[in-house]
């Protein structure tokens, strides 16, 4: 286990180096003058030269990269060209609201996906199976940005159930203000017992969460199904059957327990995808999170931000997967055998 952990961490560091090198090289290969953009319109030659020194762009490429890596470890992730703010600081400001919809989406995916996966395994080769396989493949095939707009059309435009965008309505934010503790409006308002704010924020987050749920839903359903199929065939299922447990209890209690591992794995794997999906949908929902921050950086080709976000998401992905593996190893000792 320890050896496995060390290997994983080393590989993770290697990957992060690789990612930083790829993004760094591409960003520097592009002929552009970040120093001129830093100053803004009507920059004079002297101002640009001064900005180059300020941004460290006057040094040789190799030194620039060393400095960049040094910065990554010391928390200096570069400075946004458009806002002149430290990238890491801004990332952390915008992260909680993205995590809110990512985790909400995953929760929905679990609540719907696991029963669906169990059903489809139990009723293998029937229409239920086909339907839920269709749903599961549909979930991973649907363009998230399109789903976001279709949900807005249906639930805002035609049904009027949910608001179009934003995290909370202005009136609620001003009349029932909350203290920012975690940055997640739902948690903060719940902790402070501000239920008016909570329900308003929840109402605003339903559509983004549903959009975020589509991809993990597909993955969870599929993983649950296939691991159920493996488990159902196993000997002890037959044994429990002999003891006369009813079919429903048997299926859920025993099979599901064994299907949990792959499902947790799949959630870990979809995490990075979910972070990337926020780039596509947060602008649709006017949801001020990591995704909106990134898509704006893309529109203004704010390359320090793009590099920072890429490294951040990669690191988050590696860490989450490491945690998933550790959790699995703790939950199920058999996993250890599979790991190496």
């Amino acid at each position: 286990m320890i050896r496995f952990l060390i290997r994983r961490i080393l590989l993770g560091i290697f990957v992060l180096f690789g990612v930083s090198l790829i993004t760094f090289l591409i960003a520097r290969v592009i002929p552009s003058e970040p120093a001129a953009r830093w100053i803004g319109p009507r920059a004079t030659a002297e101002q640009i030269a001064a900005a180059k020194v300020e941004l460290g762009l006057n040094q040789p490429l190799f030194m620039q990269y060393i400095n960049y890596i040094k910065g990554l470890f010391t928390g200096d992730w570069g400075v946004s060209i458009t806002s002149h703010q430290p990238v890491l600081k801004e990332l952390l400001i915008f992260l909680p609201s993205s995590l809110e919809i990512i985790l909400g989406g995953m929760l929905i995916a679990l609540i719907v996906g696991i029963p669906l996966g169990v059903l489809t395994a139990v009723y293998k080769e029937t229409w239920i199976d086909h339907l839920s396989r269709g749903i599961s493949i549909g979930g991973v095939s649907i363009p998230a940005f399109w789903l976001a707009m279709i949900l807005q059309l249906i639930f805002y435009q035609y049904l009027g159930w949910f608001p179009l965008g934003e995290r909370v309505s202005t009136e609620t934010a001003l009349l029932y203000p909350i203290e920012t503790i975690t940055g997640s409006n739902l948690i903060d308002s719940a902790v402070q017992g501000n239920w008016v704010y909570f329900s308003d924020a929840l109402n605003h987050s339903i559509l983004p969460m549903l959009t975020m749920a589509a991809f993990p839903l597909g993955v969870v359903t599929r993983m649950t199904r296939s691991s159920m199929l493996e488990v159902v065939g196993e000997e002890y299922m037959r044994v429990t059957k002999a003891f006369g447990f009813s079919s429903g209890v048997r299926t859920f209690k025993y099979a599901l327990k064994n299907a949990m591992g792959p499902t947790i794995t799949s959630l870990g794997l979809t995490f990075a995808y979910a972070l990337t999906t926020t780039f596509l949908i947060e602008s649709v929902f006017t949801w001020p999170g990591l995704g909106l921050y990134t898509s704006n950086a893309i529109l203004s080709s704010d390359y320090p931000v793009i590099m920072g976000v890429t490294i951040f998401v990669t690191a988050a992905y590696l860490i989450v997967n490491l945690l998933v593996d550790i959790t699995l190893a703790i939950l199920d000792p058999r996993i250890k055998v599979n790991v190496e």
Binding site: S32, E33, A36, R37, I39, G40, P41, R42, Q47, T82, S83, H84, Q85, E90, I93, F94, Q152, Y156, L164, G165, E166, R167, S169, T170, E171, L174, L175, Y176, P177, Q192, G193, N194, W195, V196, Y197, S283, V284, T286, P288, L292, Y293, N296, L299, S300, S301
Partner: protein, 531 residues
């Protein structure tokens, strides 16, 4: 958990819940009843913008959307009123100019407090302008004619100019002309302190909370020198809502008092809705088409004229813009002094275009056009131009780019690598035609904004002379600008396609708003009230 403790736990939890929900219910009542005499009690006004409003908070440097909120936190000595072309005193009580136009003296208002708690003095005003000039960022160049600033006594401020420029327009600029408590700001940390969301201005509102990337909440300033009426707004919120549909729906739902821009495709649905209305106002914004006069087929003014005759003006204005613009006359927009509607306007006449091309001995070719990719209207216009220019034999390659990239390309050292046609919106830094006439077309040694690369000595002379007399003899300046514009119409180094109108969506309960194109997209919230 030990099961014995369960009942305890439940009781604590329930009572905590009740207590907290009781607290949260008190809040609105508190807000509503505290309106005392001379305090605003009109509630909240929300401004919906498509773009981030606050990025750089430093009043010296800010040269972008920030002015929308800044003009509510900061004030200038004078404010230009486009409607009657006059100057309103804001922080200045009176002012006068010497006969030679070189010395301007302003007497400042006496009861003014900065948000920092200090009093406005001539010394403070001098310090803020000098800070702006020293930093030299953003629109600081507007102070170029100023040679020195003197604080004659606590409330008298004197400017010495190097030539008789129109200082009244300069001090009323929406950029770089704010008066603020420079000393206190520097003590607190200068630019960084500003960028944390602080203000050192004198304006009616001061920042309360700033959620980066989504909203800025301003609160009314208790010690503001102007009067507060009960129907004025206590709080002003500036919201960034990129999605046009969301902006539209929020406006219709009464969540926004004011929306600065909407795609004209959505306007119709506002017109049909209750409780909101559409306001069209003139702006000083023109869509300008710059031709490359230095390289390629457009070197020849006949070819440029031919292009001017190939543009589908009516389609652009009626169909793409839904009549939210009017075709420009010359290069100075309507409403700005110097505008002249007697100048020749080009119309689409493909036969004439072909004839001009024949005279020039050019039969088409390939041209590159760059436009700002984030601007939906520019994109549509570019696509129309591609189709129309094909009819006179030119194949147009469209390049949608970020402004920075577009500008970089236009400044390429090799003229052959630059674009042939460049589309951009242009508007003045302050209400003066100089921005259009000098910046766009006067010869430049180093390319800045003359992206037509136009060089014409006669033109340069006319514009320079116009600028120098503008402070003392406005009529002469107008006449000189007219002659200069005639050269532009004749030679077509660039062409203003249309004067854009601003489309505002305004809630019917939102009173007192008047558009002032000298301060693009700014709402002076102290002038507004709840109906």
């Amino acid at each position: 958990m030990n099961t014995k403790h369960k009942p305890w736990y439940a009781i604590v939890l329930v009572s905590l819940f009740l207590l907290l929900s009781a607290c949260s219910n008190d809040k609105p009542a508190k807000e509503a009843d505290t309106a005392a005499e001379g305090q605003p009690a009109g509630g909240i006004a929300v401004y919906g913008s498509h773009d981030d409003i606050m990025t750089f908070w430093d009043p010296s440097d800010s040269y972008s959307n920030e002015i929308i909120a800044m003009n509510n936190m900061y004030e200038t000595l004078l404010r230009y009123d486009t409607k009657d072309e006059s100057f309103k005193n804001i922080l200045a009580e009176t002012y006068n100019v010497s006969d030679d136009g070189l010395t301007w003296t302003f007497t400042l208002r006496k009861d003014v407090k900065f948000h920092t708690g200090n009093d406005l003095t001539a010394e403070a005003a001098k310090a803020s302008i000098e800070r702006t000039i020293e930093r030299g960022k953003g629109a600081a160049f507007i102070w170029d004619p100023v040679e020195e600033i003197n604080a004659k006594d606590t409330h008298t401020l004197e400017f010495k100019l190097s030539y008789p420029a129109a200082l009244d327009t300069i001090v009323s600029s929406g950029y770089a002309a704010f008066i603020f408590d420079a000393a206190a700001a520097e003590e607190n940390g200068g630019e960084e302190w500003f960028n944390e969301g602080n203000s050192a201005g004198t304006g009616p509102y001061s920042p309360e909370k700033w959620d980066r990337g989504s909203q800025l909440i301003l609160d009314s300033f208790d010690e503001y020198w102007g009067e507060w009426e009960a129907d004025q707004y206590q709080k002003v919120v500036f919201k960034t809502i990129q999605e046009a549909n969301t902006r539209l729906q929020m406006a219709k739902g009464g969540e926004l008092q004011f929306v600065s821009q909407l795609p004209n495709e959505l306007i119709k649905s506002v017109e049909e809705a209750d409780g909101v209305s559409v306001h069209e106002t003139e702006s000083f914004q023109q869509l300008v088409m710059m031709f490359n006069t230095e390289a390629g087929p457009l070197k020849d003014s006949k070819v440029r004229q031919a292009l001017a005759y190939a543009i589908p003006y009516d389609n652009i204005i009626q169909d793409v813009l839904g009549n939210t613009a009017t075709q420009s006359f010359g290069s100075i927009p309507a409403g700005l002094w110097g505008h002249d509607s007697s100048l020749h306007q080009y119309n689409q006449d493909l036969d004439k275009a072909k004839q001009l091309l024949e005279e020039a001995g050019v039969d088409g070719g390939e041209l590159t056009l760059t436009y700002v990719s984030s601007d939906e209207e520019e994109r549509q216009i570019a696509e129309l131009l591609k189709i129309e220019l094909a009819k006179i034999g030119f194949e147009l390659e469209l390049k949608g780019m970020l402004w920075d990239a577009q500008w970089d390309m236009s400044k390429a050292t090799n003229p052959e690598e630059r674009q042939d046609i460049l589309l951009m919106y242009w508007w003045p830094d302050y209400a003066d035609p100089y921005s259009f006439m000098k910046n766009l077309y006067a010869s430049e040694d180093e390319i800045v904004f003359n992206l037509a690369y136009y060089k014409n000595e006669q033109y340069d002379q006319l514009v320079d002379e116009a600028q120098e007399v503008a402070g003392v003899d406005r009529d002469k300046a107008i006449e000189l600008y007219k002659q200069a514009q005639q050269i532009l119409v004749e030679e077509v180094p660039g062409l203003s396609l249309y004067d854009r109108k601003y489309i505002r969506v305004i809630n019917d309960s939102f009173g007192g708003y008047e558009d002032n194109p000298a301060y693009p997209n700014v709402v002076f919230f102290h002038d507004t009230y709840k109906k």
